[in-house]
Amino acid sequence: MIRLERRPTPSRLWAAATPILAVVLTMIAGGILFAILGKDPLEAIRTIFWDPLFNEQFASYSRPQLLVKAGPLILIAIGLSLGFRAGVWNIGAEGQYIIGAICGAAVGLAFYPMEARWMIFPLMVIAGGLGGLLWAMIPAILRTRFNTNEILVSLLLVYVAEQLLASMALGALRNPEGGGFPGSRNLQQYPSAANVELISGTGMHWGVAAAFIAVIVAYVLLTRHTLGFQARLLGQSPRAARFAGVSPNRLVLICMAISGGLAGLAGLFEVTGPAGQISIDFNSGYGFTAIIVAFLGRLHPIGILLAGLLMALTYIGGELAQFMLGLPSAAIQLFQGMLLFFLLAVDVLSNFRIRIGRREVA
């Protein structure tokens, strides 16, 4: 009989080895999938994992794009991870991301066409972060005041935010010179509001920079600051936390504020940079993918950084595989799903020991 035995502390060795194991398993399973679809499995795997980094034709462009794609994922996931450690389940980051983008863009567009970058862009950043933060305060306050489940409220608010987004793209924020089509002005073409590359050709824009700063701050917070300790304590043992003087309500509000604010910032940096404008389907699931990234990264800042980059790699590699090998996008989606399953599945090895045989009588 096979059974699992909890390790006293998570194994460091396995924690490092499991992601590699998962990627290998995914390559095998994915290879079989691609072979069934009539493609050369080795070539497909190489295109997804190797070409974005080292292909002569693409790599100089794709490598920086990894940062562009990973930036918002990491930024949001870092915010979520603190709450997840404390057992505060904000799964509505997608909504906070949207609201952040709307608020930030609205501030920027209100000033159009005034030129004052020193003032307008910072104001937009503040508005974006604040927008996400306030949107996250709804589930937070409902939880602390009325004990309402924050998983559900934050999720429901995503749909509300999506409807608001459609309404904004078609109504209040619609580009008056856009020929009646939905969508706002392009903020990239408005110098005072554009989130430009900081160093040309590197993909480093303000959002990516913010993501890196968030990783560092989160690392310090987690290891050196009492807030990180309190969050872990509350997550592991709410009772002990109360004895230690942790106010659960205060912590819920702080966790939700941080995650909402960072999600809002991510939305703002995306709408002013890579996306450029508010449009009906501006949100492309970053808020949900970030939840997965947070867990893949084991809720640890460095882990999240790596997980975000890995996700970005499969996105970009998947795109290359689509048009170079003619793989349908559905196959890529399936492949990503498999990767996530394997990553989640092998995690068991770092927390548990596999024992074969009957349990000894103690």
Partner: protein
């Protein structure tokens, strides 16, 4: 503007049809959550059911085989989630989200050869003269069999949870898996069964879309119905009867909105589309702020169970 054009009888009859897919999926998720498991992959299971049902119905010529295949497809996908979360103890939220991604991809691949095809038709149940009773005939006696099945499942689920021993055990597992384990119940086995049931119901809901309500296969055709099913379970405060109410309310708002437009009323579509979610949040707040009454959420919902100690 001509409100007389809106016939309440017809409105009710069509909202029943519109709500059936989300009702089926929500009932399945209700059982899953009652067992203490939060599976956010409803959308993925629904769309997998939609394509499995469609493909089998087209190949075999029998919609009934299609419905069975849809339930099987949904259940298999759900068990994948079950194995990961129950045996390998992965995080339920992340696994559920991954399941949706996986299901959307898988269904699109399976469905590649089935675009632009008409599935075998499913007729309405023939109640003879009953169908001609004014008002009631239209509401009650002119639907396809799945609509009646979904209503029967509401009653069945309610009765099963409330009055059977098995239902009691399921609820015990969801309330406190440690206690249930200590009493000698197989927590993991029960949860896996519940998860498979949830998958089968979601799959059936998906097939209702692809075989009756739409009926055609196109990628991504569930268009978010699975997420609505999740919201309905919450709205219903984990009670079967209220799941029915919630599903019909959601379906009703959509159908009413379209009918108002057809009658020439300028409706603020976005704001009306938001309203069910806002109402659900409001209901949640009211329920949870009343501390005398239990919220109804299973106490172990979403928590990992490991019987090591």
């Amino acid at each position: 503007m001509d409100f007389s054009a809106i016939n309440p009888t017809v409105l009710i009859a069509s909202l029943m049809v519109a709500s059936t897919p989300i009702l089926l999926a929500a009932l399945g998720e209700l059982i899953v959550e009652k067992a203490g498991v939060l599976n956010l992959g409803v959308e993925g299971m629904m769309i997998t059911g939609a394509v499995c049902g469609f493909a089998v119905a087209v190949e075999s010529g029998s919609p009934w085989l299609g419905f069975l295949a849809a339930m099987a497809g949904g259940a298999v996908l759900a068990l994948l989630f079950g194995v990961l979360t129950q045996l390998l103890l992965s995080n339920q939220v992340a696994t559920g989200l991954a399941l949706t991604l996986f299901g959307l991809g898988l269904s699109a691949l399976i469905g590649q050869g089935y675009i632009g095809i008409k599935p075998p038709p499913v007729g309405d149940v023939n109640f003879g003269p009953l169908a001609d009773i004014p008002v009631l005939g239209r509401i009650l006696f002119r639907h396809d069999i799945i609509v009646y099945f979904s209503l029967a499942m509401v009653a069945g689920t309610w009765w099963w949870l409330k009055s059977t021993r098995a239902g009691l055990i399921l609820r015990a597992v969801g309330e406190s898996h440690e206690a249930a384990h200590a009493l000698g119940y197989n927590v993991i086995g029960i949860r896996l069964a519940a998860i498979a049931f949830g998958g089968a119901m979601a799959g059936l809901g998906g097939a209702y879309l692809s075989l009756i309500r739409v009926p055609q296969w196109t990628e991504g055709m569930t268009a978010g119905a699975g997420w609505i099913a999740l919201a309905i379970v919450v709205f219903a405060s984990w009670r079967a009867g209220r799941v029915l109410l919630g599903a019909y309310l959601f379906g009703g708002v959509t159908v009413l909105q379209l009918n108002l437009q057809a009658a020439g009323l300028a409706v603020p579509v976005e704001y009306l589309s938001m309203s069910p979610y806002l109402i659900t949040i409001l209901v949640l707040v009211i329920m949870s702020s009343d501390r005398r009454k239990a919220l109804g959420a299973p106490a172990s919902l979403g928590r990992v169970f490991h019987a090591s100690s």
